[in-house]
Amino acid sequence: MTATTLPSSPGRSASRWLHRHPRARLVSLIGAPAAWMLVLYVGSLASLFLTSLYRLNEDGSGIDQVIGVQNYRTLIDKSVYLDIAARTIKIAVLVTLLDIVLALPIAFFIAKVVKARWRRLLVAAVLVPLWASYLVKAFSWRAIIGSPGGVLDKTFGFSPNYGEVGLIIVLAYLWLPYMIVPIYSGLERLPDSLLDASSDLGAHFGFTFRKVVLPLLFPSIVAGSVFTFSLSLGDYIAVDLVGGKTQVIGSVVYDNFSADLPFAAAFAVVPVIVMVAYILGIRRTGALENL
């Protein structure tokens, strides 16, 4: 029984070769996912940006690949596009705030109040709506908030109806699980002993929450807000169904992409810039390091 009796196979020689070439090892390991990332993700973003600099030809039937900033000039010159961008950001901010307010008590209840055996069940219950199609949920909300004749209107005699308020409610509902889950896992990592210590030292619940829980939860809230904010920023289907006549960036992009692709691309760059600014802003707070 000596080592020389080991059979020599192609697989074996390949592994020997890889062992001697660490660089080739690295490439074969992450080459495919890195290429996927680069071509599909960075590539599509680059193509979006490049397209936004093109222009429609004279008769509107094709695209002239001439670089220029005329599409961005239109966006700035016509106040309607600034209004729409501002409205979209406002809606995304309000949806995010509403989700934080709703998610905090729910997540706290699940993580710290209920017995351990109920915990998994409740987390599952929070996630269950994600199994249903987004469209089905948006359509059901149409039936709920319509006025007159909607479920809310029939039950309480009052309903927000289709419009910005209705839209914010529906978006907050749709993205709520994305806020609850990070906050819940943040709370799970928070030792109960900290809460006990705080109350032993005489702090009432509100004080403990503000001075102990909230600072430790901040990174989790930020993580959740990246989801709710970016999802709200890009939505246009729920807007169409429950937003009444509200227009957001997504609806303008959708309306323009087949007739004037460069212009649609230019407006689609706006949420990308907003998201980058948002994430850079968060980075300054240091929340990303604590995730």
């Binding site: 039936a143 004749g149 109806n161 009444g244 227009q247 309306d255």
Partner: protein, 389 residues
């Protein structure tokens, strides 16, 4: 140095991505001179309900008989809007499309569809003459498609709420409407033509001739009217189930509609439709052949099949529209024991059809042949965004 390398890679990717996108403007090519052997496959872009294969309702299946007799296996892609149809056609992966007038002219101008040799379609002779050689299905003396079916955009109201029957589009354009917040309008740039049609009568000094051929002044007046209208609109619609629900529920009580929406609404007896005194816009759908069609023979077989009386009867009855082939009327009676369908949709009423301004894509070269300073469709789209604010 490192960043320069990354930049190089990024540029390469960008160039690659832009090389993949085609932007060449091709001519539409030539029409077929004879129908050859089928290519065993057919890829269509259709409105929902135009190519039923029994999956929605087993009682409605005209795709399978076609496959059996032609050997062409049909794959149909449902498009929700005219814009989507245009977008899908520009991929070149489809053989044909059931285009409405607000995309058909664009498809012709962009060279995405080929002229159609109508003499190869046996049923073409039977189709209503007022649907042939129109500005939305022909160009430069060439035919670019086969008429399929059509309908008008009616004014509809809920008789419980609107007690005085309106007879003018003024009912939806009046900024002091008593139904403020419960008015609806069609959500597409082509709706600007509805305002232009109204202004044609309401402000004759604008000199509007064709609502799809507007000069800047006429266009601006139409847009200004729609900006006023925006104040009384509750919501716009382009999905017919959405507006039907709104009319059933009562959140909408007056606005533009299609006959089929009134027919299918659960409170249909409370709803009234009319063609107001200013006339009406409407849609007429056309089967068009892609200039990059991989299966042109199958597409011609399909166009002949879909315009035959028996199949027209099924489509028109299922979808709720006037069939292009009047021979379908008798078939509808035979198949569904419904003798009134063609009367309800006024399928054979030439005067009615002539009174409708059918959707057509506006372009710089005026569709009515009067000059070349008309506002092109791209500006209509931009204006539509501004109207909705």
């Amino acid at each position: 140095m490192k960043s320069a390398r990354y930049f190089g890679a990024l540029t390469a990717i960008t160039l690659l991505a832009s090389a993949c996108g085609s932007d060449s403007k091709s001519s539409g090519g030539d029409a077929l001179t004879s129908i050859g052997t089928g290519e065993k496959a057919l890829n269509l872009i259709v409105w929902a309900g135009y190519a039923e294969d029994g999956t929605t309702d087993p009682a409605y299946n005209w795709v399978k008989p076609f496959q059996d007799q032609s050997g062409c296996v049909v794959k149909s892609k449902i498009a929700a809007t005219s814009d989507e149809m245009f977008q899908l056609m520009s991929t070149g992966q489809y053989d044909g499309v059931s285009a409405s007038g607000d995309s058909s002219v664009r498809l012709i101008d962009a060279g995405l569809v080929s002229p159609v040799n109508t003499s190869l379609i046996k049923n073409y002779a039977d189709l209503s003459s007022f649907l042939k050689d129109t500005k939305y299905n022909s160009s430069g003396g060439k035919n670019y498609g086969i008429p399929h079916g059509w309908g008008a955009n009616y004014l509809m109201w809920n008789t419980d709420e609107v007690t005085t029957p309106p007879d003018s589009w003024n009912a939806v354009f009046d900024p002091a409407s008593p139904y403020s917040g419960k008015v609806t309008a069609y959500d597409a740039p082509i709706y600007i033509a509805d305002a232009a049609l109204y202004l044609k009568t309401a402000q004759p000094d604008l000199g509007i001739d064709d609502p799809y051929s507007l000069n800047q002044k006429q266009f601006d007046a139409s847009v200004a009217l729609l900006k006023e209208q925006h104040k009384v609109i509750g919501e716009y619609w382009n999905d017919y189930t959405k507006t039907m629900g709104a009319f059933e529920q009562g959140s909408t009580v007056i606005g533009t509609t299609w006959q089929v929406i009134k027919n299918l609404a659960s409170n249909t007896d409370k709803l009234q439709t009319v063609i107001p005194k200013e006339g009406s816009t409407g849609w007429s759908d056309t089967w068009m052949v892609s200039s990059k069609a991989a299966h042109p023979n199958c597409m011609y077989m399909w166009m002949d099949y879909i315009t035959s009386p028996g199949v027209q009867a099924q489509v028109a009855y299922y979808f709720g529209e006037a069939p292009a082939n009047p021979k379908a009327c008798a078939e509808i009676n035979t198949l569904y024991a419904d003798a009134t369908h063609c009367d309800v949709f006024k399928a054979t009423d030439e005067a009615f059809a002539k009174s409708i301004s059918f959707w057509a894509t506006p372009r710089k070269e005026c569709l009515n042949g009067k000059g070349s300073d008309c506002v092109p469709f791209v500006d209509w789209i931009k204006a539509w965004t501004e109207i909705k604010g």
